[in-house]
């Protein structure tokens, strides 16, 4: 009898994990975070960034004990590849057969070194581009989250039709075509690799996989071939997505094996089992492999196909084309009823970008954020969006065309798995100055047209704006907003609620380092 139990257990865990993470990215209510947030917290890089030592150490210990089980049941990108590989096996008339391949040791090393070096020298966009959870996060943000919104909108519409208040209309997603471009690039690349060769990305590119393989290479337990039973039929190698079973010699390379258990379930002779390995079956450690490799002098050209930044730039301008129409038509009040057209607001040219409260400083968010996009899918006020400038590529930034950073909300901080955005409580948020408001007097209808307004002052949660006469001592002269930059927290209420369109008369400039008082 073939032992399929382990494989089924792995598939079950993977499916549950995948569904949880997808739900988290599609959720528009903030509820999923309470139950499923841990699924992203335990991801490799986020757990390091967030300082979740227990999660990080557990991952290493489990890897040391059982091999790269993390790659099969925790990593969403790994599970995604299994799914694509499965499609590859279903759709092709002749099912794709995998075969053993030599380890591309140098490529793995170079990428892993690049990854670690980038992390150390603070080249964070590179870290984010290579790290599997973030790659998946960007795919989920740009491709799955819209589906989630669609479903949520459908539910809201039906609950609205039924006069029921279970489902609220979700906030719109701030869509970034730059992020989409990058996500599609990685999606296509990884999907092709997975479709044709299974876990090629995990075996050759993934820096997290390479780091884990150092712990996995002589793990306590691994798939072990019983040479007495094995008839060297090679079936296991054909089923091995990781291409790591050398059927001829009956050896499983545990530095690349992701513990999918397919080989165990497929073997007719029950010749492979998940058990403790003898010395003979052990994969040589990385130092030895490097030495061997140098000895062989089989030095190959490494054309590390690291993403070329230029190709993505093409997507940059696409999104910027949609523009609001001209000024508000001041319709003559001849007939009754109807709604005036609203001129859409445009983002002002900010000298310094605004990062969300809890991100502490540009430096902190750049260092810690892996740009997975989860906070952007979670923002209920349509404020957060991925940055499209190169120095902060895809990290969250704020703007206030469709809403402002509400005082009662800290969902971005709740969902952030890395601690890049982290607020203890709402009091901390309301004491955090992420920027300060700046007046553009020419746009102010109160100053220029003498209209009684003061909407910015009325809505400032920090009480930082007062309306004062433009002429000293003359209370009847047009009023102007006077901003107390020390009190301003940069929430954007004034910018969002300013009646001037498309450019507000008052806007927020970000702070490089958030002031807390």
């Amino acid at each position: 009898m073939k032992s399929k139990f382990l494989k089924y257990a792995r598939v079950l865990c993977a499916v549950v994990m995948m569904l949880s993470i997808v739900t988290l990215f599609c959720d528009t209510t903030g509820i999923a975070r309470h139950y499923l947030g841990w699924t992203v917290d335990i991801q490799f890089l986020p757990s390091i960034s967030a300082g979740l030592i227990a999660a990080f150490v557990s991952t290493l210990v489990v890897t040391k004990l059982f091999g790269r089980i993390y790659c099969s049941v925790i990593c969403p990108l790994g599970i995604f590849q299994d799914f694509i590989a499965r499609l590859g096996r279903l759709t092709k008339k002749q099912k794709i057969k995998y075969s053993y391949s030599e380890e591309k040791l140098w490529m793995r090393l170079i990428i892993a070194v690049l990854f670690i070096a980038s992390y150390l020298i603070c080249a964070y966009p590179i870290v984010g581009l290579l790290e599997p959870y973030s790659i998946f996060g960007r795919m989920a943000t740009t491709l799955l989250a819209p589906v989630g919104r669609f479903i949520a909108e459908y539910l809201a519409a039906s609950s609205e039709a039924a006069g029921d208040y279970t489902f609220a209309m979700p906030a719109a997603l701030n869509y970034s075509y730059v992020m989409l471009g990058i996500a599609l690039f990685s999606l296509v690349l990884i999907a092709i690799l997975a479709f044709r060769g299974g876990r090629t990305y995990c075996n050759t590119i993934c820096p997290v996989g390479t780091i884990l393989s150092i712990f996995a290479e002589n793990s306590v337990m691994k798939p072990v071939v019983d040479h007495d039973k094995c008839v060297k039929c090679g079936l296991c190698a054909k089923k091995c997505k990781a291409s790591c079973i050398d059927a001829k010699n009956g050896i499983v390379d545990s530095s690349r094996c992701v513990d999918c258990m397919n080989c165990i379930s497929v073997c007719h002779k029950e010749a492979i089992s998940f058990s403790t390995s003898s010395d003979k079956d052990k994969t040589p450690n990385i130092i030895k492999r490097i030495k061997d490799s140098i000895k062989k002098k089989g030095q190959k050209d490494v054309n590390a196909s690291v993403a070329t930044d230029e190709s993505k730039r093409a997507f940059l301008t696409v999104g910027a084309l949609v523009m609001g129409s001209a000024m508000t038509k001041s319709m003559a009040k001849t007939f009754d009823g109807g709604l005036a057209e609203i001129t859409e607001k445009k983002e002002p040219q900010r000298n310094d970008r605004i990062t969300p409260p809890g991100s502490k400083s540009y430096k902190h968010i750049e260092e810690v954020c892996t740009s997975c996009g989860l906070c952007i899918t979670a923002c209920p006020n349509e404020v957060l969006r991925p940055s499209e400038s190169l120095d902060s590529l895809l990290t969250p930034v704020m703007s206030f065309e469709k809403g402002y950073c509400r005082p009662e909300c800290k969902r971005c901080s709740d969902v952030c798995p890395t601690g890049a955005i982290s607020l203890a409580d709402l009091a901390e948020k309301s004491a955090t100055h992420v920027g300060h408001a700046v007046l553009i007097a020419d746009n102010c209808i109160s100053m220029k047209k003498g209209v009684s307004c003061g909407n910015c002052a009325r809505h400032c949660p920090a009480g930082a704006i007062t309306m004062a006469p433009t002429v000293n001592g003359d209370e009847t002269s047009p009023k102007m907003p006077v901003i107390d930059s020390q009190r301003c927290i940069g929430c954007g209420a004034c910018e969002h609620l300013c009646p001037s369109s498309p450019y507000s008369a008052i806007y927020v400039e970000g702070h490089r380092v958030h002031r807390i008082d």
């Binding site: 209309m169 005036a340 009684s452």
Partner: protein, 464 residues
Amino acid sequence: MDRRDFLKRLSAATATMGLAACTSDEKTKEIIGTESKKPNGEMTYRTVPTSGDKVSLLGYGCMRLPTVQHGSAREQKDIEIDQEELNAHVDYAIAHGINYFDTSPVYCQGRSEHHMGIALKRIPRDKYFIATKLSNFAQEFWSREASIKMYHNSFKELQVDTIDYMLLHSIGGTNGEYNSTQTFEKRYIENGILDFLLEERAKGKIRNLGFSYHGDIAIFDRALAMHDKCKWDFVQIQMNYVDWLHAKEVNPANTNAEYLYAELEKRNIPAIIMEPLLGGRLASTLSFIAAKLKARRPEDSIAKWALRYLGSFPNVLTVLSGMTYMENVKENIDTYSPVEPCTEEELALLEEVAQAMLRYPSVPCTGCQYCMPCPYGINIPGIFQHYNKCINEGNVSISSQDENYAEARRAFLMGYDRAVPKLRQADHCIGCGMCKSHCPQNIDIPKEMQRIDKYVESLKQSMD
């Protein structure tokens, strides 16, 4: 049991079941019978003393015509009247005795007259009375030429040679820098338009002349003082069981309908009633208030009470109801075919209900849309309507200690986003006050907007 035995029992069982089915069928029929809105008798008619017109007690108001967008008119930037549905309404109304149709050049973003013209063109001219107004609100229409042009345009849009009922539209209001007296002077007296209309009546182009009134009571008195000269054939006033004695409590600028009605009765001028349901607020109300009425007459809707109330006054000529949906048309016709006047005891009960309703701070907006469009894109009536609806449903809590606070908060906020898109909500009101003078109910719109905005803000900040 053998096979034969089994079959015997089976057939017996089937027969019993069939019988049972028959009896229950009869019961269902009974229920269907009472629920269907077929009028029981003939429509009640009232007579105009001057012209002798026999007018149906229910008048079809053309301010809330059915639209293609239906109820989901979340973004009614450009409404489109559902002509097919309107025709069906008119056909049903005519077939069931309604003969009074009340429109205006400004209703439905200026489209009401046009569509009513199309709908009524299909009906023999002697089957209906058409009422329209000289709605020269905007200052650009204050000149004699512009007003007369508007008057002539009504004939064209309505496709008629005579207008049965012509009204000076909503006297008593203010406009911009002008107070109510100045506004009345400028709209109708200084430009000679009132004299012009009197001439037109003498010529027979207008068969009945009257005015509709909101606001400053001095103007109402003044218009009635002119009765000897103008010989008003009718006057249109706001009346319902709340406004009868409590108009000031709903809105300090208003006057009790008791006074208005008495003044008209004294002069034997028939009263045409608008806002019989107080902008829909007498159609649905807090459930514990509704229960008082339901206990008295379990099968009657709350709206029916309001209409029966008005039908109890003999000097009421017709009651105008804007009936957006066919079911409203049917129900209201049913109420007045024929009218069953309220007893003394029922009138006392309605007074009690009126007093109960006034304890809840709703905004006296009737949804007439005169304030719209707001230049800053705010959906003023939409916001008030939602607020009032929540008050009626008990979803406006004063304190977070209230029992159903969380639920009410959710219903209020979610319903708010549904009823009004975010960019058209109260927080975008800058308080410019342009809307204020247009409101026939004299609501301090900017103040109410800020009050509601503050309430919304307090609800949002108490989340989680």
